[in-house]
Amino acid sequence: MSSPEQWTHPEPDAAPAATAAKPTAEQVIAGLRATDEGGADLVQLLTPEGERVTHPDFDIDITAEELRGLYRDMVLIRRVDREANALQRKGQLGIWVPLLGQEAAQIGAGRAMRETDMAFPSYREHGIAWTRGINPTELLGIFRGTDQGTWDPVEKRFHPYTIVIGNQVLNAAGYAMGQKFDGKVGDDEGEATMCFFGDGATSQGDVHEGFVWAAVYDAPLVFFCQNNQWAISEPTERQSRLPLYQRARGYGFPGIRVDGNDVLATLAVTKWALDECRHGNGPILIEAFTYRMDAHTTSDDPTRYRLSDELEMWKLKDPIERVKVYLVRQQWADHEFFESVEADADKLGEELREFCTNMPDPPAERIFSNVYAEGNPNLEAQRDEFLGYVSGFAGGEH
């Protein structure tokens, strides 16, 4: 059997397409896009420099303790991401899907949800998983190949990761329709659903159909599109002529573009959107304008298709750094606090490494388990025959 490395890096001689030098005008046209310009409609409450700004439609009352909590969430989930990335490099995971750069989009959206709300993730939603109370160790098996997600999606109200692009959007629309049919929509105690997908997914028919269905049935569904600017190698212009949030208008519901690197703005906008849905005013589209700071997956090599200058621009908009600056400036956090978060991150990283390197391989029976809810005698016979064949090896017959 080939090792993952053999197919992930087939062409060691591939020349990097990008350089670190200042881009020429042609390069700007060809690849270095104004991705850092969210446009006039961008909702922002905390600038990249850590300054609190106001917005006419959205604001948020946040305590020092709450903001320290958001900071801690973002630092910890970034550590999870970096540890998992490193575990892949050490051969402990087959692949990893980095969330680096999208911490604010995910922590802001995730912390806006209530326990009774439901979430449908794509496959990069490690930050959302964190806010749903999923232990990050439970993500590892998906990428190590021992399982396909071990949490209970009903108990956690967090659906399994969906890898086929856009599939989950229709599933989320259906779930939200069910919330409405069950009479759980209409007041402050109402339920809502959040669906996560990326800029690339907006081209899929399933996403378009999900917009149509949610609109027609007034479903309490927040479409949360993380526009991280890149669908593997394809920039957002490959998917759309107009800014993605503006698509909502065509389906008859509001679309809002929020600074996805601003955890306060993301939290404020998502809370508002969820409340609208609870009261029966859904669906709503949120485009979180952010940036994929790392590769699409550990198998990808972004130097082949994007300029490193773009990355440098976005480093200045780091979602965690701006919160740190604000916490310090407000004197809401001291050195001791930041040290304690670092210590927590170190501990979490160690737990992940320990857990990952000790994960047992699943038993062969797992291949055949839970294919059907009511069983299938033919499959059971196939299973028994195979397990008998395997035990022949164990008995030393061969």
Partner: protein
């Protein structure tokens, strides 16, 4: 459309026509040759342009042929196939890349409803010279939907032709022949064998596209396989030879239409047949071969036709794929059972 500007000297026949290539490189060269031969040949898919595809099969083609002949499409498989239909009606010969086997299903409707049926519906007035390239099969330690073998769905659909290459020479020639074909061709590429090497003679006269081929002659039993399982079957035949068992190995190459004449001829001599495939066995290519062989070779069979396949389950988490996928031991175990019948 602007004529492609490229340095022909690098694409001309090399000093020695026989080169050692990987399947991946052979496919790349085959695609390039097809694009040079016919300006109506265009490539469509996700990440196939600037990146050259996630497996680099289209590496360098957009650079040399331009963005109007190598399209980085929006991320939508139904869109890729559906617009290929329109382009084909307009006289183009689209070659669509589906990034991974498990992502073909958003395009399934267009393949089954339009690509497969337009020629029939229009009584031949519209042809569908579309190639749909699909890296397929497991063994690469991937996550869900990246290791599947969906070929039977397409072989089951009238109007489609389905082939699979197993070695670099076939990869080079078969992709060009598929592009030349006026029927739609599903072209299944054995992704875990992409980097296996073999000799390719770019001046040789290739065999026909829709033909099976005997790769190794033998007398005791016949193995039939396609795509990634051809290597496994050849390895099994080598191992069996050391134990004094002579296995014949046939590379199916074409799954629809099936070319079973070489299989019938072989089974009439050996009396025993084992079909090897990664796909689940129920209602599969392997089932069809078993049915046809018992019909045509009933009095020659010394044992029932046996199938060594993936199980009738979803593709499991990758830590279990060694158990799931047919390997040398499982093939030889089936051969033993057949011989002992």
């Amino acid at each position: 459309m602007a004529a492609p500007t490229m340095d022909r000297s690098t694409a001309a026949a090399p000093a020695t026509p026989v080169q050692t290539l990987t399947i991946s490189k052979a496919l790349n060269m085959g695609l390039r040759a097809a694009m040079e031969a016919n300006p109506k040949v265009i490539m469509m898919g996700e990440d196939i342009g600037k990146l050259g595809g996630v497996f680099r099969i289209t590496d360098g083609l957009q650079k040399d042929f331009g963005e109007q002949r190598v399209l980085d499409t929006p991320l939508a498989e139904s869109g890729i196939i559906g617009t290929a239909v329109g382009l084909a009606i307009r006289g183009y010969r689209p070659v669509c890349e589906i990034q991974f086997d498990g992502f073909i299903f958003p395009g399934f409707d267009q393949i089954v409803s339009q690509v497969a049926k337009l020629h029939y519906r229009t009584q031949g007035k519209i042809k569908m010279p579309i190639v749909i390239r699909v890296p397929f099969g497991g063994g690469i330690g991937a996550v869900e939907h990246h290791s599947e073998s969906p070929e039977s769905y397409f072989a089951h659909t009238a109007g489609l032709k389905v082939v699979s290459c197993s070695n670099p020479a076939d990869a080079y020639w078969m992709i060009q022949q598929a592009i030349d074909c006026d029927d739609p061709v599903l072209f299944f590429e054995p992704k875990r064998r992409y980097y296996e090497k073999g000799e390719v003679d770019t001046t040789a006269q290739p065999g026909k596209l829709f033909e099976s081929r005997v790769l190794r002659t033998g007398t005791d039993a016949t193995l039939v396989a396609y795509g990634p399982m051809v290597r496994t079957s050849l390895d099994a035949a080598n191992a069996a030879a050391e134990d004094g068992t002579s296995l014949e190995v046939i590379d199916l190459r074409t799954l629809s239409p099936l070319d079973l004449a070489p299989v019938f001829e072989s089974v009439r001599r050996t009396g025993r047949l084992v079909v090897v495939s990664e796909a689940p066995s129920e209602s599969s290519i392997a089932s069809e071969i078993a049915a046809k062989v018992q019909q045509e070779c009933f009095y020659s069979l010394q044992a029932p036709v046996l199938r060594v396949t993936g199980f009738d389950t979803p593709y499991p988490p990758s830590k279990l794929e060694e158990e799931f996928l047919p390997d040398l031991d499982r093939v030889l175990h089936a051969v033993d059972r057949s011989l002992a019948w």
